[in-house]
Symmetry: C2
Subunit: 134 residues, 2 copies
């Protein structure tokens, strides 16, 4: 049921727990590698994927961007900064099944869930001058 407990997975989870905000797998890898240069990139990606499959951590899939991970697993929404790509929580009450059922009726599909992604500009990037004129 639960995957094996390896020294690598211990280290990876430890790093994730110490990282405040929704790091990507690559960011976790950088952090892990700083202390344990022997751990491979694929292992970090695999362990994070495995743990999120088991529900022990959360994987936040982002439109057109790398997945982010979080050691907290309660359900909520996320925002992504259009400028710097940072991801943060949006603690609005999620409307669970009811929306899925409405979508089921509207589409004829079997709906297993949904995600809401907000896009915007984070407080830090708001402080920095003019927009990067896309």
């Amino acid at each position: 049921m639960a995957s094996r407990q390896t020294v690598q997975s211990e280290i990876i989870v430890g790093a994730l727990e110490r990282m405040a905000n929704h790091p990507t797998a690559e960011e976790v890898y950088e952090a892990v590698r700083a202390e344990h240069p022997g751990i491979g990139r694929a292992t970090v990606f695999r362990v994070l994927g495995r743990l999120s499959d088991e529900g022990r951590i959360a994987r936040v899939r982002i439109n057109n961007g790398a997945d982010h991970f979080d050691h907290r697993t309660f359900e909520h929404h996320h925002v992504r900064c259009e400028r710097c790509g940072r991801v943060d929580d949006v603690l609005l009450e999620p409307r669970g099944r009811e929306v899925d059922e409405a979508a089921e009726r509207a589409s004829g599909w079997r709906i297993s869930g949904h995600t809401v992604q907000f896009d915007g500009v984070c407080p830090e990037c708001q402080k920095v001058q003019a927009p990067p004129a896309e």
Copy 2:
């Protein structure tokens, strides 16, 4: 304001309009190439990106999957099939600004919009036997 009208962009938009359901850029490229082998892939990707930036077509960003495009631009949600990756519309009334404003208050970010992505199994894939046993 509007980008230049080139023979390539004409062809690409024409192909997109003739394709029923949310093709990916790659699929549009295949369709275009069948008739006009000279047009490059990068051009198809660029033109689709440009037109969606201008609001003339819609880009549907999908968690962990290729972007899809649609020549219709009215606002609505999307479902993605967990089995075959197909994307379809979910014609629920979007709750526009009101949700963004709530998220703005909850997060302190400046929110420019949000997307809702449903995940499920399309009618076709429901017909096909046992689940792929995740």
